[in-house]
């Protein structure tokens, strides 16, 4: 009798078997699908990448920038803005643009590096424009002294002498530069996003831009020798600090000094 029951056992399924089958099925089908559709970009501007970019563009950008990037009510023409513009705008989260207001803000980045490259390749294919900069200009091995001089002449009036940011008219602003990657810094200079002027390579040569990036990296990597920087916005912060903390602390001392001891 027991032998009969035993021989029946191999036919009985384990309770977790169903789950395992489903799991394996999902893995196999999903993985197979991913493998079939994964576009490995070996070269920037390859037709596959441009097509990938075009699809992303149509889904995310065309409603404002037109189906062929020619511009529409919500956004200007992207013809000729180059890969650098896309890499900057989308790479810093400014694009896709949201909300109305005097200026776009940095937001969390919505696309992966590959997707951004694809969109950049597509826009670059529309017409020649500024390209994504070469690695050699982004290493920060330029001359920070020359970079500082150029920064003060061309950039400090909007971004502040150490890139702390500054005001423009009507609610616009030049953002602070802390945390901005060398690549995005270069791209901003060469494309002139929003109201920032364009610093083409005749105005600031690639070497000049490398030096400016080196200067900014030096400022960011080195703490001030004087101590805490109070935001690097100058005498206003220093004055506020004096009144609130300097005088405040000293007045606390005077109250203690004048009070009768127990």
């Amino acid at each position: 009798m027991e032998k009969q029951l035993k021989s029946a056992k191999p036919m009985r399924r384990r309770p977790w078997a169903a789950g395992l089958v489903v799991f394996l099925g999902l893995i196999l089908s999903g993985g197979g699908y991913a493998a079939a559709t994964n576009v490995v970009v070996s070269e920037f501007g390859s037709p596959e990448q441009v097509e990938e970019g075009r699809k992303l563009f149509l889904a995310n950008c065309a409603s404002c920038h037109g189906t062929n990037g020619e511009g529409a009510i919500g956004g200007p023409s992207l013809i000729g803005v180059g890969a650098a513009s896309v890499d900057f705008q989308v790479g810093t989260g400014r694009m896709p643009g949201q909300g109305s207001g005097p200026q776009l803000y940095k937001k969390p980045v919505q696309f992966t590096e590959e997707q951004i490259s694809a969109m950049a390749a597509y826009v670059a294919s529309l017409a020649p424009g500024p390209a994504i900069p070469d690695e050699e200009y982004l290493r920060g091995d330029g001359d920070p002294s020359h970079g500082g001089e150029l920064f003060r002449i061309n950039c400090a009036m909007c971004h502040n002498a150490v890139g702390a940011g500054g005001a423009l008219t009507e609610g616009k602003f030049a953002p602070g530069l802390a945390g901005v990657t060398p690549k995005h810094t270069y791209e901003a200079m060469v494309t002139g996003p929003q109201n920032m002027p364009v610093f083409n390579d005749a105005n600031l040569t690639p070497e000049d831009k490398k030096d400016i990036i080196t200067y900014l990296m030096y400022i960011e990597e080195n703490d001030s020798v004087g101590g805490f920087e109070l935001g690097s916005i100058g005498p206003v912060a220093e004055g506020l600090f004096t009144w609130i903390f300097g005088l405040g602390f000293i007045i606390a001392i005077t109250v203690w000094l004048g009070a009768k001891s127990n």
Partner: protein, 553 residues
Amino acid sequence: MTNTTENKPAASDAKPGFVGGAANYLDERLSVAGVLKGFGRKVFPDHWSFMLGEVALYSFVILVLSGTFLTFFYQPSMAHVYYDGSYAPLKGAHMSIAYASSLDISFDIRGGLLMRQVHHWAALLFVAAAGLHMLRVFFTGAFRKPRELNWVVGFLLFVMGMAAGFTGYSLPDDLLSGNGLRIIDGMIKGIPLIGPAVSSGFFGGEFPGTEVVARLYSLHIMIVPALIIVLIGVHLMMVVIHKHTHYSGPGRTDDNVVGYPLAPVYVAKAGGFFFLVFGVIAAISATFTINPIWNYGPYDPSPVSAGTQPDWYIGWLDGALRLAPSGWDISVFGYVIPMGVMVPLVVSLVFLALVAAYPFIENWVTKDKREHHVLDRPRNNPTRTAIGAAGVTFYGVLWAGASTDLIATNFQMSLNQVLVAMQILLIIGPVIAYWVTKRACLSLQRKDREMVLHGRETGRIVRLPHGEFIEVHEPVDEYELWKLVDYKNYEPILARPDANGKISLGNRLRSAVSRLYFEDRIAPVSKAEYELAHADHAPEPVAAKPKKKAIKA
């Protein structure tokens, strides 16, 4: 001649100790014993608000000490060099020797950066403490007779402090302070008739020239400090002659000064306070960056940094320039008066003149010729306090006006809207501040009056046998009571015709201003009122101070 050995006092037979010997030596030449006798037990009243002037004084001493260190290393020359110090982002940069020496102090001289930061933080604190001290003096009426002249001396000290600060921070010849000098040059050039000539005289020719930093240096280390030291001397001498004022309170009258003797209490407290102020400044200077000239770069007329503001005490002048209305030049027979410059200049000067003249204005209104040594509580002179609040608001809006661009970026607002809002606030702000402050003072006076007549509300509710609920009031003790009733009562004056039956304009004006000052008033409680209020219960206030603990429980 008598035999001097017989007249020698017995004490000098024994050999004197070092201190005794030194004291004897000095007294035989300088009469120091008399000084010690006169000053040693001089009484000073004890209140924290009386120490603000000391903060300014000690900050000044610290400025002189740290400044002396800096003079050994700083070079006020505008000749140009290529930087060869240890700060990498400026290596090889073309700059003035003044800037290069300031960089050397910051990076290549041990203790240099610390002394620079001590010097600059102390400068900010000096003017801030002086300003707060002035406000204390104003709101307590300490400028009344006999101290009107001391108010003027103090006012001059405040202005000298601003001058010392401005000349000082322009010495490193960096981009930020250099643009400040450019602005000053622009303002000078705009002055009618003499503007361009004065500009040329100040800068030794065209801006920026090669002279101005050395001239500012001479002003900063010699002329202005000399004036400040003389003015401080006069200021303190008057405090000695007049003795310090004191707040009203039991035992404090216009005839005496109540407090502690100079030696040993004030020697310890005020002397110790110097070290405390120095210590706070040192601690801040060790840990917080101030005026990072290496970030701004050397002065050049072409670059400029966003967020270009002067040090805080010049801020109100910069704000005045920003808030001036647009596009406003006046042409007089083909000569140009730039109103965008002249209006801020004139408004600032008028404001300063009013501040300096205030004690004399009050004198003219009240014609109170008595000496005043007991201070007013601000609430007991509502109009003066309200005028002060309006003045502070006016100054404060101008001050805030200097940072419109920073307000715009930090609070994500439009620069233009911030500016227009401040222009409006400049006009209506003081009016609102005046009205609100005056009403607040009068209300506080009413509250005090209630306390005198009916005592302090204890929060204990009692139900009387016939059903009425009352809150138990506790009468204030006599010490507290004295403080609440001891203030001056002024009444407005009617304009009266003189012998010829005419009322002069001066009289009319004085009558109107006196009404502004004193028409709305809460007079101190009189004896008759007090007795009436207390007629139905315990006639005298509690003689001894009730135990505070019972109330707080």
